[in-house]
Symmetry: D2
C-alpha cells in the first residue's frame, strides 16, 4: 500500500481561496493533472463561478454535481432513523456530508482514471478523517493528497501570499461578508468555528448566526406544523408530499424563521482535542423531535430502548467518519429493521426557538391503547392483580440478596 | 416468603381522598393498626392538615418528615451526574422520588415494629413497582398492601361513596382547584396524566400547567445565570452557594419564570403499556443542560462516551424502580468515578423556554487547549503530519476488506 | 384481555406421566376438549406411544410433528450466528426450543379452533415464560392454562396418586431408567436439574451424563474434522453437505464420542432465583468454537466487536423467552447483516473433551493478509512510520489530561 | 508537543539481540546516555546477564526490578475481576503486562532525569501502542524513541550484520533453543507468533509449546483443586494462602501439568491487521473459569449481566493499550464495586486439557437458595401463582403489538 507517483488527482473544489491555492499547488508540486469536483449539497453558494475558475486554472475535466437529493435520501434520513446525536448535543451536520463527497471523489477518480484524490481539510480536524476513511473504504488503492498536512502555508497570510505570487484571484468573498469564522454549510446545517469561539467562555455575537433568526426576533405567534412519517422518514409537511431535499429545505425555512436549532457546544474531535463550535440545524432539530415522537407512539418499548442504547455508538461512528464501514452498516440494519412501523403524523408547535410536540397519531401502527392505560375503569382490559406477581418475581433476587446481606449504600 | 397476618402497617399518607380512604380501608379490612407517613419532598402542599386528619382517623403513630435535602442530595444529584433521560425526553421526576419514600416506609416499619407497608399507587402504573421493589430490597420480609390491586373501589365514584359511607371528610381540594388531571409533584417536577391527555393527538389546554409560565408569557428579555459545579454537582447560582434543596428550588423559580422545562410525551411504562404524560421540570432542565456543558469542558472524551452509552440503561433502571439494586449501584460507581474533575462554571442564557449554553470555564480542570485547537499557527503544539498515520492505520482494515470485496451498499 | 371460558385447548403432550395427568386434569377441570401436540425436536424418544395414549384418553385431534429441520434451521442456526452464550457458560439448549413449541401450539390452536393452549412447565422455571411469551406474541388473544400454577399436585406423590385414582397408566419409564434428575433434551442438548444437583458443591455422579462419554473414556487418539461454513451457517462436515438437522445430529455423535460439551453451572433464572444445571451440548460446542474461528478470519474487527457487545443481550433475550419480540428481531437483523462473508472451512482437533481450532481458511472472504502481518520485510505493504501518528493522536487526549492532572490510580 | 533533542533515554532492555542492538543504536543515533531497565515479570529468564551486558555497553544506570507481585496484584487480578476475554478467546496475557513496563519506564525517567524512553516493539504490533499510550498518559511530555519505526534494520539479517559490525555479542540464545517463533512470556502466559503460524490453516508443531504438556501427555487421572476467593481475587489453593505472584505461578504449574490453557487464534490487532497467535495461559484459564463460577453463586443476576455487557469493551481497552485511561478506570470502578461479595471456594477438576467446575460454595455470600429452587414442595418459599402476573405483564406490550400487526418473521 505504498504511495506511487501521482498522474491525475480529483480535487474537492469549492472555487474559494483555499481550494484554488490547492489546485495550483497540486499542479506545481505533483506535476499532475487536476480534475475538479464541486458539489451542491445545499450549502447555498453559486456553483457557476467554480467552473469558470477551474477552467481559468487549466482544468480539463470539471465535475459539478447536484447531490442534494442523494444527500438527504441516503445519508441524512438513514441517520435520523437512528435519532443520532453526538455527545448529547450535536446533530452531525458536517459529519454526514463528508462520506458522500468521498464517494463522489472516488467515483470520479474511477471515471477519469485518476490515481489520487485531494481535499482542503486541515490536519487538525475531523473532516480529513471522514474524507479519507470513506475513500479508502470504497477504493483501497486510492492515493490521497492532503495539502494542509504537507505544505507550509499554515496561515492565512501565507496562503494569500501564495495566491498573489501565483496570480490566483482572491475575491475576498469571505472578507467581504465580514465573517471571521470558519464556516461549513449543507442542507442539514451551518457551522461556525474559530475566532472568538476559541474561548469557550465567550458568547458569540448576534451577527454570527446566518440561517435562523434569534429567538428574540422570531414571530410572536406560534407556528403549528404536521409532519407525516412513512417507515421512519419524513415525507410530507402539513399533508404536502415533498422530495427529501425539498422537505429538508422547507423545514429549514420554517425552523429558521422561528429561531429554532441553534447550538453552542464544546465537542471532542476524533483526532484527540476539544473544540468549540456553534451550529444552526433548524430543519434537523424539527426532524429529530418529530421522529422521536412518532417512534414513541409506534415503536415497541424494548426496540426503542435498544435503539437508544446503540445510538451513541452510531453517532460516534458517523462523527468519526466510519459511514462506509461494516459496523455502521450493521447498526443501520438493526435500526432500519425497526422502522417499518414508524408511520403516522406528528404535530409540532414552534415558538421563538421552542419545538414542542403537541400531538401524534398513527392509524396503522399506534401501540397506544387508551383502554388499557385509562385511569377510569377499563372493562377488564388490564388485570391489576397481575402486577403483584410481576413485582414479586422481579423483586425475588433483591429479596434473596437482602436476606443475605443488608443493603449497602452505594 | 408467604404473607402472614398483618398487625401494623405503615401507610404513605398524603391526607387526600385516596389515602384517607385507604387508611380506613386498611383498618377495616386487615383489622390492624395504621402508622401514617407524610413526607415533604417539595410537592408544595401543606403537611399540617395530614397530621390532623390522621389523628382524627385514630392514628397513634404519625410521621411527618421534611426529606427535601436528602431527596436532592442523595437521589436527584446522583441521577443528574448520569445525565439521565428516559426515552430521550423524560427527566424522571416522579421515578427518582419513589425509592426515597420506600426507604422511609421501611425505616418507619422497623422503628414502629410494623410488619407491612401500604401505598396508594394503582395497579397500572410504575409507582407501585418503584415503591415495592425498593421496600423488598431494603427489607425482604416486609409485607406490602396495595389496596388498588385488592379492592373494588376502581372509580372515583366508588371512592367517594366509600368516603361518604365511612364519614371520611372530602375536602374537594382537587375538585376545588378544578384540575381534572392526575398530578404528582416534588422538588424536581410536576406531572400530569389522564383526562384529555388520554388522546395523544390532543394538545393540553394552557391552564393545565402549574409550575411554569408559557414561553409566550415569559419575560421579553433574556435572563443570564451562572451555575457552579463541584465534582459533578451544582453548588452555587451566580456565585451564591446553596444547599441542594434550596438550589433546586431556586432553579425551579428561575426556570419556571422563563417558561422552561415543559415536556409532552408518550412513554413506555414498565408494566407494559404506553401512556401519555406532561411534565414541568424547570430546574432539572437547567441542571441537565449545564451539567452536560460542564462535562464537555472537563471530561475525557472516552469517559464521556462511555457515560453516554450507559445512560439509557441507568435511566431505565431508575424509571423501572431499581434504585436500590446492585446494578444501579454498579453503574453509579462508574459514573461517580468520573465526576471528580467536573468542576467549574457554566453560563446559561434563558429566554422564553430556551436554555442556551453561552459559556463554560474551569480553572482547575478544563481540558480545552486553545493552543492545540486553534486555526492559527500553533507553534508546534500539534503536528498535523501525525494525522496521516492515524488515518492510514484506522483505514487499514477497511482497505483490506475493500480489496477483498467491493463496498456493498447497506 | 380477561380470560373467558375455555372450550378447546391444545396441550404440549409428551405422553409421560406429567402431561398425561395434565391431559386428564384439563378434561376434568375445564370440561373442555383437548388437542394433543407432540413434537420431535430430536429429544430421542419414540413418539408413537404418545399417539396411542392420547387416543386412549379420548383425544380426537392428535398432532405429531417432526420439527427437527425447522428447529435447527430457523432457531439453532440463527442463534449460533450470534455466538450466543448465557452467563458465559450456557449454550441455551432448552431456551431455543421453546419458542418453536409455542409457535406450533398457536398454529394448531388456529387450525383446530382452540381458544387455549396448555403446557407442563412448572411455575418456578423459565420454560413457562418462554412458552407463554411466545404464544402471546403470536396470538395475543390466546388463553393459557398452566396447570402447575393452578393445581395442588405439587409433588410426585400427589401426581402418582392422581394418576392412580384416574386410571392413568404409569409406565415408570423414568423410574425404570433410574434417573433421579429432571431432564430435557432436543437436538441441541440434554439438561439435568434437581436431586443432588440442588447442592451446588456436590459433583454429579458419572452415571448422570447420557449423551457424551466421559473425557476419560474417550478415544486415546484425536479426531480431526473440517466444518464448512456458508454465510455463517455450518453446511458440511469433512466436505459432505448435510441438512441442518442431520448435520447437528452428526456433530452430536462426533462430539459426544470425544467427551465434548459437558457443563456444570449455576445460572440465574428469569423468574428470579439461582438454579444449578448440568448440560451436554456436544455438537453445539463444536459449532460455537468453529463459528468464532470462521469469523476470526472473515469478519471485520469492529463488526466482530459490535457483535460481542450485543451478544450478552441477545443471549439474555433468548434465555428469557423473547424470541418472538421486536428487540430480538432487531438484533438478529444486525447479526445476520454481518454473516454474508462468513464463508470457509475450519479445522478442529477433538481429544478427550478438548476442542482445539487448528486451522481456518476462506478462499473468498479471508481478511488475513500475511504480507501485512509478516515479521519479515513486507515490500511496502505496511508503513511502520504510520504507527507514530496513530499513537500520537490516540494519546493526545491522555496527554492533555495528564498535563492538567497527574494520573490517579483508579 | 514537538520533539526536542534527547539527552538521556530509558530503554526497556532484555539483554537479547534486539534490545542490545537498540542500545547501541540509541547511543550512536542520538548521541545520548542510555539507562537500561530490565524487569522480572515472570518471563522465566535470568536477569543477571542483562546487567553484565549493559555494563559492557557502557551503561551507568542499570535498573533490574522484580515486578512479579505488582504485576499480578495490580494488573492481572483487576483484569480477571472483569472476566476479560478479547474476541472470545484471548486472555490478554501480553496486553496486561505492557502498561506496567510503561509505568516503570516513566518512573525511572523521572528518577534519572531522562527525557525519553525507548522500547523494542515493532511498528506493526500492539505493543508499541500499549507502551506509548501508557507512557504518554503518565508523563505527557515524555519523548519516545521506537527504533523499529525509525531505522532500516528491518530483518534479522540486517540486525545480525549491525551487531557484528558493532561488536555486539550474539549469544544465539533463541537460535540455540531452536524456536523459530516470536515469543513473549510473563507470569500470565507465553505467546507464539510468526514462522509457520503466518498460514492460519497450518497447525503448529507439537514442539512449539513450552509451558504446558500436550493434553495427550497429561496424567491419566484427574487433579482436583479448590480455589478460595476473597472479594473477587483468588487468595488460596487448596486452603493454602499465597501471595498473588506465588499463586499464579502455582496455578501455571498445575494447569500446565494437566495440558490446560492452550489457544490458537486469529486476532484483530489495534493497528488494523489480522494476525495469528498461539498462547499458553494455564493458570489464567483456571482463574477465569473459577472466578466465573464463584460469581455465579454470589453475584446478583443483573450485576452479572451488566458485567458481561461491559466486558468486551473492557477487554478491548486492555488489548488496545488504554490501561491508564479514564475509561478503563471508570469501568474498573463499576467492576470492583460488585466484587465485595465474591467470596467462597470453587472446586475444579482438571483432566488432560479440561477444566470442569464441579462445586462452588460460599458461607457468607451465596445467593443460591435451594428452598426456592427445589423441585420438591417448598413450604411457601415461592408462590408459583406469581408467575402468572409476571408473564402477563411482560407479555402486555407484545400482545398489544400483536393485535396491531401480526408477527412478521424477522
Amino acid at each position: 500500500m505504498a504511495q506511487n507517483a501521482i498522474k491525475k488527482v480529483v480535487l474537492a473544489y469549492s472555487g474559494g481561496l483555499d481550494t484554488s491555492v490547492i489546485l495550483r499547488w497540486l499542479q506545481e508540486q505533483y506535476d499532475c493533472e487536476v480534475v475538479t469536483f464541486t458539489a451542491d449539497i445545499g450549502q447555498g453558494e453559486e456553483l457557476a463561478p467554480a467552473r469558470a475558475k477551474a477552467e481559468a486554472a487549466g482544468v480539463k475535466e470539471i465535475y459539478i454535481d447536484d447531490l442534494r437529493e442523494e444527500f438527504v435520501r441516503d445519508f441524512v434520513f438513514p441517520m435520523f432513523r437512528a435519532n443520532a446525536i453526538y455527545e448529547g448535543e450535536y446533530l452531525l451536520g458536517t459529519s454526514i456530508a463528508r462520506p458522500l463527497i468521498a464517494k463522489r471523489l472516488v467515483e470520479i477518480a474511477i471515471e477519469t482514471g485518476a490515481d489520487a484524490i485531494s481535499h482542503g481539510a486541515t490536519g487538525k480536524g475531523n473532516d480529513q478523517v471522514r474524507f479519507e476513511l470513506g475513500a479508502y473504504a470504497l477504493k483501497p488503492d486510492i492515493q490521497i493528497v492532503a495539502p494542509w498536512r504537507e505544505w507550509d502555508l499554515l496561515s492565512r497570510e501565507k496562503l494569500l501570499a501564495y495566491a498573489e505570487a501565483h496570480g490566483i484571484p482572491v475575491e475576498m468573498k469571505r472578507e467581504g461578508t465580514k465573517s471571521p469564522y470558519s464556516m461549513d454549510a449543507n442542507l442539514l446545517h451551518i457551522s461556525y468555528e474559530g475566532y472568538d469561539l476559541e474561548d469557550p467562555w465567550c458568547e458569540p455575537g448576534a451577527d454570527m448566526w446566518r440561517w435562523s433568526v434569534a429567538p428574540e426576533d422570531a414571530p410572536d405567534r406560534p407556528t403549528y406544523i404536521e409532519l407525516t412519517f412513512a417507515q421512519g422518514d419524513c415525507v410530507a409537511i402539513d399533508g404536502q408530499s415533498m422530495s427529501p431535499a425539498a422537505l429538508l429545505a422547507e423545514l429549514n425555512r420554517i425552523g429558521g424563521a422561528n429561531g429554532i436549532g441553534r447550538a453552542d457546544i464544546v465537542e471532542n474531535r476524533y483526532v484527540g482535542m476539544k473544540s468549540r463550535g456553534c451550529y444552526e440545524t433548524p430543519g434537523g432539530t424539527l426532524l429529530l423531535k418529530a421522529h422521536r415522537a412518532m417512534e414513541s407512539l409506534t415503536l415497541d418499548r424494548e426496540a426503542a430502548h435498544q435503539k437508544d442504547a446503540l445510538m451513541p455508538r452510531y453517532a460516534e461512528l458517523v462523527y468519526n467518519g466510519y459511514w462506509f464501514s461494516p459496523e455502521r452498516q450493521m447498526l443501520q440494519a438493526a435500526i432500519d429493521q425497526t422502522q417499518a412501523v414508524v408511520n403516522g403524523v406528528v404535530r409540532l408547535k414552534l415558538y421563538k426557538g421552542n419545538v414542542l410536540v403537541v400531538g401524534r397519531k398513527s392509524e396503522s401502527d399506534s401501540l397506544f391503547d387508551a383502554s388499557i392505560a385509562t385511569f377510569e375503569e377499563d372493562a377488564g382490559a388490564y388485570d391489576q392483580g397481575d402486577a403483584t406477581g410481576f413485582i414479586r418475581l422481579n423483586a425475588l433476587r433483591l429479596r434473596v440478596a437482602g436476606n443475605r446481606r443488608p443493603y449497602r449504600r452505594g
